[in-house]
Symmetry: D2
Subunit: 316 residues, 4 copies
């Protein structure tokens, strides 16, 4: 491997590809796979997002990928959307430190996510604004029962912040699925909203309604691509969708620190998913054991450099 | 540390406590904390279950803990319940091997979970039986909108297998919450059930309805205990419930292989949760970095030995 | 998996073997392999010890295995022997806590090993006593150039503490190899010893001299067994010895938290060693991803229970 | 975090520093620390190298850092030097795959290091050439007893390959210490060399002789910097040297996948070393949990970009 001063990201990645092994070789492979996924016009790209990647700085990168349609569907934890909204409503994530007295933070009304600090005040503002939106949406929708993706679309169209993931998804018509929506601040917000007995009724979200939308999206795709940041429910949902739609995933990139030995889905190998019919045996696939915050920006920067700024994709 | 031939589990754990450090010392601490949790009659014990622990062999241990009310509420992934049902309906989990050709398994209609094999046939039987229950429940309930815990209770009362987690939870009146129910085979079963347009209507599950039940359970508990197997949605739900109910958790045992550095909730320290008001600063707590399948049976066996077979707890 | 009150260790391990998967199944396999290794009278058992297992409490367990000749050769870091000597010379390892101000410990002259505290004073006493032994050995040996195992034998015969690893190895004639002896407090002790220009000369240790002893031991063994606690130099030395002696290892148990992905030897799979001729393709082998302080006492206690207290093995 | 097409490495690292958290923030901190280490003319920079980083592609990067004196002393496993020599003598490391039948590789005389393949033939050629050098050095040195660093210097001056670490260290007068030299192919080579009873005598390497050289280097340094790739013996040696020389390390960068919980030195926190007086409480330090093959080239490329090609440092 040779380094030069002022190398671009993709030049380094190509060095990794030529002469780097272990993690370096796999990172280079991931860039190649993502490039092929994007260039394949018949591929619907699902991104599964778990872990606190939005608070940690990937928000505008993800919004940008949505706008370019370098991802065609987002499956995420509720938390990442809540933090997207927190910033959209003027809140901030501050760089802090992990080694601090948490009872001091508690008394100071500051929440910690590893080395990120979030003021309780910013959370409360966001909770209040979203609860108001819930009132509004319930009123407008007159008893409509929502899927998580419909609710995300309703929120997205009300936002103005162009760096927002939900705003970008509204503009690009890229659906955002939140399968465990109740397990997030959305749960609290809904509980608040419902507790105050809104005169125009309580917003209703059906646990299963999103199933048909995401299954149809997969079923109508000639090919499926999957990018997993982390694991958890988002990864499982995308893989399970592929199985129900009788599609095997064709391209897969997994970036995680989870390992197979303890048997959980998050750390399971991509190969294991082949036994379930979720990922094709011949899929173009790679696993990176590493920090999403380092690996994913490198992959995206490398691919943007290869494709150029103008490259765009159609809605799927 | 001294070993003797024919030592009991608790004798070894006490050796770990006296003279073992690193993981051994922490495991001994976990046994002490669980004993104190159980002896504290005013403590409501929540168990959060993620990872494939039911297929891997913990099913009857968990059912037994429910029956003794050594846990008072279960928060779990859908998958663990599905595998509980699979066994309740006559299916099996087979010991296999992780290093096998998964495309061969696929062709053989065998699903793999690390080193466990599950015949597709057993899954189909379970799917079919549960879908039939869904038809039945939809018919009986006449438009009732269910929470995940209500649905689990409905299923539990229909089961006969005394080793079943859902059956035990029905008998002991221990609620089972499945916050991400849609992200599991339940999603597929519901989709099947709904696709065939059941004449008596489709079973409806509200994504948020369980919120008030779990929050009230926490709010009415003088003290809260938490045992986490794995992490993910179940851990987050229990911790988040504590915050919404304005309760800090008093006792916490975390068994996981996830680590804090990548910032995800699953690997976050118990201490971090203090900044959010989820776990009290003075909580009696311990984290074991290790395999749930080894650590949890050791803890339970040690505590059973300490308390004796007759020890029981009341419903909370 | 079924638990009973007052189960013995081996009863639990047999439950793990019957119905436990993931780590539990592998732990049961490790017990079976260790039992077979011991029952195989033609197998020379090498134990490779890295990590701070002696300070953490495994000292008397290892000494006991040596005395029963359930291990026939020890390959270890210098640090584990130093901590064996520290206890033999009256020093102590105290249970402390990992989350403490290390500059406060520094000012208090207390050294920390994760959650173990060691007073500097105990170290100094041990350093002083061992340096005195070095003077003595240099004097007695009159220019003899030592291998690490010869030096360990010289020290072992001077000890009285029956819980000592070196004392037990002297009694049972089980050699102790310390391939990286210089990278430990032995390095400092030797530097002290040499700095004061001992009148009878400086003790000389040849870096390579132990090679022929360990290679011959392997070469003369009909079968080789290997137990690895941790990884590092001790694991590599045992595996490399097998290759040089043109022996493939027949039985292997690896307990570690290291993983293959970053390419280091410590985390490499046992299977990888087959390509080098170090471990036979058909070897009876298992890897446990877990804490040595939990897994190894469980394995030893289970095997002691199976074999009974009287079972002993011959010198090899 | 914002990405642009054709970003340079340092531009991305600065984005990581401004708005990235978790691993991204730490990686940016590591670049800042390395820049400060290099700009501090009174700092002696020790690099500790474990893991198969030379086979995996970092050879010429390390040789280049030596030549610029961006490192002033190397402490490494024997294996990394052996693989440096293998390439210097015309051998190759091939990109292979980790998931392959190792008994097939064995029969094909190909050794595997995770996803790297090395032909046995290339190893034999290197072994033969180095053994010949051993004969030569033994002859020339007439009974001189070597330290590991003296031996490395003897080999380095005999090499021609300008990409070689040992050649670069010879040219730049940067010492290379191999504390566990016996635990590597050097052990086999020496055994070969000694077995054939060389007429001019056997090359002698003293296990402890390097102590005074490395201690003096540390003792004469106004400040000490440490970069750890991996852990193991090299990390311990550098830290232990600081303690013996009564120096606390001033700057430290640790890149590893090892974790503190199991108590081994490799995964211990930098903070723990403060209790031992090895790292100053106020040291400028950071730990990156990640793949050395990804993180280290990023750090070096970023620092080269900041300092420019002309920046050099003096011998220390």
């Amino acid at each position: 491997m040779n380094l030069e001063s002022k190398m671009t990201i993709d030049q380094l990645i190509r060095e990794f590809g030529r002469s780097g092994c272990f993690g370096a070789g796999r990172l280079a492979t991931a860039c190649d796979i993502y490039e092929r996924m994007i260039r394949d016009k018949e591929c619907t790209i699902f991104i599964a997002i778990a872990g606190a990647v939005v608070p940690a700085g990937l928000r505008s990168i993800i919004a940008d990928l949505i706008r370019r349609r370098f991802v065609n569907a987002v499956v995420t934890t509720g938390a990442n959307i809540i933090h997207d909204l927190l910033e959209a409503m003027g809140g901030h994530h501050y760089k802090g430190h992990w080694n601090i007295d948490d009872s001091y933070l508690y008394k100071s009304h500051i929440f910690r996510i590893y080395d990120i600090f979030v003021p309780e005040e910013d959370f409360m503002k966001e909770d209040f604004e979203v609860a108001k939106m819930f009132d509004e949406i319930a009123e407008e929708s007159k008893g409509h029962i929502f899927s998580s993706n419909e609710l995300m679309a309703e929120i997205g169209k009300r936002l103005k912040d162009s760096d927002s993931i939900l705003r970008a998804s509204h503009e690009a018509k890229v659906p955002v699925f939140v399968p465990a929506i109740r397990d997030s601040e959305f749960g609290y917000i809904h509980w608040l909203h419902a507790s105050r007995n809104p005169p125009k009724g309580v917003l209703q979200v059906d646990a299963f309604k999103e199933m048909s939308d995401i299954i149809n999206l997969a079923a109508n795709s000639p090919r499926m691509g999957m990018i997993v940041l982390g694991g958890g429910v988002p990864r499982n949902t995308v893989q399970h969708t592929a199985a129900i739609a009788s599609k095997g995933i064709d391209y897969a990139i997994l970036i995680t620190m989870d390992r197979p030995e303890t048997g959980g889905l998050s750390g399971s190998t991509l190969r294991e998913a082949t036994s379930w019919g979720k990922i094709k045996a011949q899929a173009d696939k790679v696993t990176i054991i590493g920090d999403v915050l380092i690996a994913f920006p490198l992959i995206v920067a490398s691919v943007l450099e290869r494709l150029g700024d103008e490259f765009g994709r159609e809605k799927r």
